[in-house]
Amino acid sequence: MTTPIATSERKSSVKTVRIYFMNKAYDVPIGLTIMKALEYAGYKLMRGVGCRGGFCGACAVAYRKPGDYKFKTGLACQTVVENDMYIALLPYSPLIKPRYNIFEMKPEAGYVLKIFPEVARCISCNSCSKACPQGLEVMDAVQSVLRNDILKAADLVFDCISCGLCSLRCPAEIRHIYLFQLLRRLAGKYLLPRAKHLEIRVNEIESGKYFAEIEDLMKKPIDELKKLYSERDIEPE
C-alpha cells in the first residue's frame, strides 16, 4: 500500500497508519499486526487471543480496505495493519454444538446430514473458502460430504483451526466447525488406518509397564531430575 501515512498525534519519528476500530480512529505504528496494533492502542485482549502464531484460530477478524469493495477476513495475529483499514474482531461465531454418539454412526453422508441437514443447502457460492485464513477448500469439503466422500472431506479440512469465519459468511448457515470436527472423527474412527504403535503403547501404559520408573522418578531430588532432563534422549528430527 502506497497511500501517504496519516498524521500521527504522537510526537514520534515512527511512521504510523490510521486504523478504525469500533468506529474510532487510531494511529498505530506501521508494520504491526492487527492484534499488536490494538494492544498498542490501549486495548487489553482478554478473549479472542491465543497462540499469536496463526494456529489456534482464536483471533478471527474482518476488515475492509479503501479502494477495495471486498469484505476481507483473516486472523488478527497474522494480518498486518494498513492505512485506513476498518477492523472488527470476530473471535467467536455462535454455532449450536450438536451432540451425537460416534459409536452409533457410520462414515456416510446420511449420518452426517442427519446432524447437519443444512449441508444440503450449500449452493457452492464458495464464500467459505474465500473467508478461510488457512486457505482451505472449504466448499469442496462440504460438497464432498454431499458426494458421500467422507474421507476426502476430512482430508480437505485437516488443517481447520475452527476460527468460524466460514460459518459467518455461509448463506446456507452451515456449522462448519462442528461439521468438520465430526468428519475428522468419522475418518479417524472408521476410515483411516489404525496407528498400531499407539495401541501398543497404550496397552503398555495400562498394564503398568512404566509405573516403577515413574515411582522412582518421583522420589528423586530436583537437581538430579534437572540433570536427567538435560541428558535425556532426544529423537532426531
Binding site: C122, I123, S124, N126, M139, Q143, R147, P171
Partner: protein, 272 residues
C-alpha cells in the same frame, strides 16, 4: 452405483473413455425459476467450468450425465447463460476465483449417447432379447421442458425405439411421463404412492413385469411403492443400462440382485 457401473461398462465396451470430473458440485437438483437470484445457478455453473477446464485436457466438450435432474439443471443453466450473456458476465464476476465460462460445453444425457451409438451396441450384443416385453418409464426431467428435452415431452418414444432395435418388445401405456412423486417422498410419501401406483397399475394390467427407468429417484420411488400394494404385484424395476449391459454380456457391472433376476427371465419364460 448400479446405474453408473452399467452405464460406464456399456460405453467402455463400445469405445468411449468416460472421465469423471476431477471436481463437481451439487447442481442444485432443481432448476431455479427465480429470475433475480443468480446464486441458485452457481453450483451448475461451477460444474460447467470444471468440465470446460477438463475439456481442454481430454479434447471433448461433451458432459455426460446419468441423473435426469442433473441433466435438466445443467442443460437449462447452459441455455440460460447462452441466451443472456449479461447474466453470465454478472455471475462470472462473482465467481472471480475461477476462469470464466465460455459456453462451449454440451450437456448430454446417457440415453442420447446410447441412441447415437445403437449400431455399436447391436454389434456387441451377446444375448438375443427375443422380443421380451418391457415397459419404459421416462419420468419428467429428460423430456421436459421442451427446449431441453431429448424427445417429445408429451409422448416420448426414443427409448422404446432404441430397445426395439436391440430386440425387445415395448408396450405403450398412458403414464410413462407422469410424475412419480419425485422429491415429495421427503415430505409426504402418500403423494409418491398415489402417483407411482397409478403408473405401476397400468403396466401390471398390461401383463408386463419389467419396468425400466433412467432416473435414480424414479427408481427409488417406484420400488418403494411396489411394496405398498395391498395385493402383491409382480414387477421388477431396473435401469435401462442394466438391461443393455445384460444383453451385451457385461455381467460384472450389474448389481447381483438384478443380475439373478435377469438370468431367471432369460433362461425361462419371456417377460410376459
Amino acid at each position: 452405483m448400479e446405474y453408473e457401473k452399467t452405464a460406464i461398462a456399456i460405453l467402455g465396451k463400445i469405445g468411449f473413455k468416460i472421465i469423471e470430473l476431477n471436481k463437481w458440485y451439487c447442481c442444485g437438483t432443481l432448476y431455479s425459476l427465480t429470475i433475480d437470484d443468480l446464486s441458485k445457478h452457481i453450483g451448475a455453473i461451477r460444474v460447467l467450468i470444471n468440465a470446460q477446464k477438463e475439456s481442454v485436457k481430454y479434447k471433448t466438450s461433451e458432459l455426460l450425465t446419468l441423473c435426469p435432474m442433473c441433466f435438466n439443471v445443467l442443460k437449462r443453466v447452459n441455455n440460460y447463460l447462452t441466451k443472456y450473456p449479461d447474466k453470465l458476465e454478472t455471475i462470472s464476476r462473482y465467481i472471480d476465483e475461477e476462469e470464466p465460462y465460455k459456453l462451449g460445453i454440451v450437456v448430454k444425457h446417457v440415453v442420447e449417447t446410447l441412441v447415437e451409438n445403437i449400431d455399436a451396441i447391436k454389434k456387441s450384443k451377446v444375448i438375443e432379447p427375443g422380443g421380451k416385453r418391457i415397459a419404459v418409464y421416462y419420468g419428467c426431467t429428460i423430456v421436459r421442458p421442451r427446449e431441453i428435452g431429448i424427445d417429445n415431452p408429451e409422448d416420448p418414444v426414443i427409448i422404446e425405439k432404441f430397445l426395439n432395435e436391440i430386440g425387445f418388445e415395448t408396450i405403450d401405456y398412458p403414464y410413462k411421463t407422469l410424475c412419480c412423486g419425485s422429491y415429495q417422498v421427503l415430505l409426504d410419501k402418500n403423494i409418491v404412492y398415489r402417483n407411482s401406483s397409478r403408473i405401476l397399475n397400468e403396466i401390471v394390467n398390461r401383463n408386463v413385469n419389467l419396468l425400466i427407468t433412467v432416473c435414480p429417484l424414479c427408481l427409488y420411488n417406484l420400488r418403494e411403492t411396489v411394496d405398498k400394494f395391498e395385493k402383491k404385484i409382480e414387477i421388477k424395476i431396473i435401469y435401462l443400462t442394466d438391461i443393455v449391459a445384460y444383453v451385451m454380456g457385461l455381467r460384472n457391472s450389474i448389481d447381483s440382485n438384478t443380475l439373478s433376476f435377469l438370468d431367471k427371465v432369460f433362461s425361462s419364460n419371456p417377460l410376459s
